[in-house]
């Protein structure tokens, strides 16, 4: 049963990944990318990594891909122009793809040989049966790898500030709502009750 499910999800994942790069319409590409994320999450569930699966869906599908879709839909992309220059970019693409393939090969090799014991690596993890996925990940992140975890947080913070600095520009003559000022106003500053004579006007 699990095997069948694995092959179904893996097939969907591969097919949608291929469609991401072959689809003519960029919006379709993003939608296929989302399908690929989703199938990857399903594969994580199958190997029992439910926490990672849910985080994958929440972060990548729920937030990143939404913004991605947002941008792709807003842009007026010329499809013909995108097709051009395929040969020019081919070498770079081949190099990147080659590096990824070699890395995958290394991973497969470690699976065949067996993982190497790292000196001074994480120790004393309670047996998996006592812990849920979430607790196990939390345990490792916040005890063994707490500095790396904090460092990655800082890197993300720097990236965030960088994005804000790059896009922030102060324009003159923009009217903004000053909520504090609005709330501070007293009644007699803004409202006047007048007796208007008939046919006289104010």
């Amino acid at each position: 049963m699990v095997n069948i499910a694995f092959f179904v999800f893996a097939a969907i994942l591969l097919a949608s990944a291929v469609r991401v790069i072959t689809a003519k319409n960029p919006v379709h590409s993003v939608l296929f990318l989302i399908l690929a994320f989703f199938s990857a999450a399903a594969l994580f569930v199958l190997i029992g990594a439910e926490f990672v699966a849910m985080i994958l869906v929440i972060v990548y599908v729920g937030a990143v891909a939404v913004l991605f879709l947002f941008v792709v839909m807003m842009l007026d992309i010329n499809f013909q122009e995108l097709r051009q220059g395929f040969l020019r970019y081919l070498p770079v693409g081949l190099v990147v793809g080659g590096i990824l393939a070699v890395e995958l090969g290394f991973l497969a090799a470690t699976q065949l040989i067996g993982p190497v014991e790292a000196a001074g690596g994480p120790t004393a993890i309670p047996p998996a049966s006592e812990l849920t996925n979430t607790q196990a990940i939390g345990h490792i992140l916040y005890t063994d790898y707490v500095y790396a975890f904090q460092a990655s947080g800082l890197i993300l913070l720097v990236a965030m500030i960088g994005a804000i600095v790059l896009t922030l520009r102060s324009r003159k003559g923009v009217r903004r709502q000053q909520i504090g000022q609005q709330l501070d106003r007293k009644r007699d500053q803004v409202v006047a009750v007048r007796k208007v004579p008939t046919r006289g006007g104010v």
Binding site: N25, V27, H28, L31, I34, E50, F51, M54, I55, V57, I58, V61, G62, A63, V66, L67, L69, F70, M73, M74, T132, N133, T134, Q177
Partner: protein, 339 residues
């Protein structure tokens, strides 16, 4: 008698048991959704000193079904410039996502279809996917109004998810588990809306924004977008959006009751109150939240778009962040952290 039934139930193949439990959840849910539209119209009518639907069936009770039948008989219109596949898939996706979330909702002690370890995360993930139906509908319609509605929805839902996530974290700090049944069990004696009252309010308001309900119903602002993301939809495709929106409302009310109002637990564990079965308490709490949803809709004017964004990012986000830190600090200081 009951033992026989239970034995028979256990002997059935797994697939039949799962399909049967799915039907037991979805059929009442769909009927409940139909009743919710009737309830909404009646409550709003009462608040506006009108009568509301009163002609179809006794007290107009069958009005929702009449509306559904009418929509079923309408012609399906697909606009000429529309992207057909995405256009048709969008309402299906919305409806599907609204239904699958119910798999993890515990209706009572042990009464849950899938009692998974990461129940809260699952709900959060599914509700964050809900935006796709709307944004796809807006884009595929090939219409300005629909597109603007879809973009608004995307920005709005992403903004309010952040504060919902932080609110969920404060609740999880008090429980120590992501399992929904355990979250309810942890509220025995003290429902979380008392110690975490500000978070309860933030969660409820964010739930309004997440389900695109008034006063945050900008994606379908009638006055400026003539109906928003679903302008181009007719017939059952429109009905599926409608169903999805209302089932999401029920789902968010269910989440509010599970996280803050003690799920299936009675208010006090004393004689007349704990005679009422748990699922009934759960349904009562959901009805209370739904009433608040409708009450808000009948009372408040729609937010302006920049006000909506300001509320989400500049008020709710910092406030809920501070509350996460505060809750964690208090729990650690008084040694109340769940083991």
């Amino acid at each position: 008698m009951f033992e026989n039934v239970a034995q028979l139930w256990d002997q059935l193949p797994l697939i039949i048991r799962i399909v049967a439990s799915i039907l037991v959840i979805t059929v009442p849910l769909l009927i409940g959704m139909a009743m919710l539209t009737y309830f909404e119209r009646k409550v709003m009518a009462a608040m506006q000193l009108r009568q509301g639907p009163a002609l179809v069936g006794p007290w107009g009770l069958l009005q929702a079904f009449a509306d559904g039948l009418k929509l079923l008989g309408k012609e399906v219109i697909i606009p000429a410039g529309a992207n057909r596949v995405v256009f048709v898939a969008a309402p299906m996706l919305t409806f599907l996502l609204a239904l699958v979330a119910w798999a993890v909702i515990p209706f009572g002690k042990g009464l849950v279809l899938a009692d998974i370890n990461v129940g809260v995360l699952y709900l959060f993930a599914i509700s964050s996917l809900g935006v796709y139906g709307i944004i796809m509908a807006g884009w595929a319609s090939n219409s300005k109004y629909a597109f603007l509605g879809g973009l608004r929805a995307a920005a709005q839902m992403v903004s309010y998810e952040v504060s919902i996530g932080l609110v969920i974290i404060t609740v999880l700090l008090c429980v120590g588990s992501l399992n929904l049944s355990k979250i309810v069990e942890a509220q025995k004696g003290l429902w979380f809306f008392i110690p975490l009252f500000p978070m309860f309010i933030i969660f409820f308001i964010s739930a309004l924004a997440e389900t695109n309900r008034a006063p945050f119903d900008l994606p379908e602002g009638e006055s400026e977008l003539s109906g928003g993301f679903n302008v181009e939809y007719s017939s059952m495709a429109f009905a599926l959006f409608f169903l999805g929106e209302y089932i999401n409302m029920i789902l968010m009310s269910g989440m509010t009751s599970i996280l803050f109002l003690g799920g299936w637990l009675p208010p006090l564990d004393i004689a007349p109150l704990n005679w009422i079965p748990g699922p009934l308490w759960f349904i009562l709490k959901i009805c209370f939240c739904l009433f608040c949803f409708i009450w808000v809709r009948a009372t408040l004017p729609r937010y302006r778009y920049d006000q909506l964004m300001r509320l989400g990012w500049k008020v709710f986000l910092p406030f809920s962040l501070i509350w996460v830190v505060l809750t964690a600090g208090v729990l650690v200081y008084f040694d109340l952290l769940p083991k």
